[in-house]
Symmetry: C2
Subunit: 191 residues, 2 copies
């Protein structure tokens, strides 16, 4: 197996773009090579088979969607409040929009996970870790609400963002920022 880590990351990023454009089934070594602009056969030096490629694409998506440590310094946040939760959710939605291919790729992975038990186990583990970390941060920062508040925010934001990315005209009477405010105001207690 070839070991250049930057080349591997570039191939995985190309794979994410292929998946967003063509769906998980369109993910072939040949398509990845073409998208990355490397000679045909390069990907097959980096990944033993399609299953391994798919699993590493998943890990790469998780890395890209998870904020770097320090991207959000909770010690620097203003006083905890519902308005601050609104701002944080808007920041999160902007991050997802900036990583649109990754966010759509995550839904491709979810659908693939219905067919692949190992991918499902790994996806469950990563999503659970993210959710637990969000609960921990929310409570540690003294934000209003409890553990179920964060669970509700997670469910509602998933529903809102999947509409926003797949059928953006569905709620076009309201801006995304306004919708997020509505969601947070209905779920998070005032103080």
């Amino acid at each position: 197996m070839a070991r250049n880590p930057e080349r591997r990351a570039a191939l995985l990023d190309a794979a994410i773009e292929v998946m967003a454009d063509e769906g998980a089934r369109g993910l072939t070594f040949r398509a990845v090579d073409a998208r990355a602009g490397v000679p045909t056969g390069t990907s097959s030096n980096y990944f033993t088979d399609r299953d391994q490629l798919l699993s590493q694409v998943g890990e790469r998506i998780f890395v890209r969607l998870t904020p770097e440590a320090g991207a959000l310094d909770t010690a620097m946040l203003p006083e905890p409040s519902r308005d601050l939760v609104v701002e944080l959710m808007r920041w999160l939605a902007r991050r997802m929009a900036a990583e649109r291919s990754c966010y759509l790729g995550l839904f491709e992975l979810r659908l693939e996970a219905t067919r692949r038990p190992e991918l499902r186990a790994r996806l469950t583990e990563v999503l659970r870790g993210d959710l637990d970390e969000n609960i921990r941060l929310h409570l540690a920062a003294g934000m209003p609400g409890d553990e179920d508040t964060v669970l509700l925010l997670y469910f509602a934001l998933t529903g809102l963002l999947v509409d926003h990315f797949t059928v953006p005209g569905l709620h076009d009477a309201r801006e995304l920022d306004t919708l997020i405010e509505t969601v947070v105001n209905r779920i998070v207690p005032a103080a």
Copy 2:
């Protein structure tokens, strides 16, 4: 074009199963013929091309996921209350579970819609119609809450069900029925 409507519906149901098992990219005339147990070439007598097949699969999914008129006789419902909303959401989730392939197919269609403007327009129209109908029924039945209550329920149920169908172990500390109760109790006012 062949015109036998029962055969057409059977081919579309086979196509939904293919899509749930293989993803939208796996949807070929040959795969549909094989799944339906009909001679190779049958599907191509019913659909001009893959785009038309995909669009009719979408319509078939919408039909199967929409309750028949009378499936829920609102005149027969008990007094409107938050507990009744819990029961209705549980009923809805059971319907979706009974039509698992359709519900997963709807997510395949959402992802396909990011790549196909006509499918996106039609999917937007159908989802908007469903949401408006849910809002109308909620208010007409005198259920507690307003239009945004129904919007929040729709977002949160989407997030909950996409987890339930793709990564069912994510919330395994709680039964689906209990999760639904938590969601409704947090979103719908007591009365």
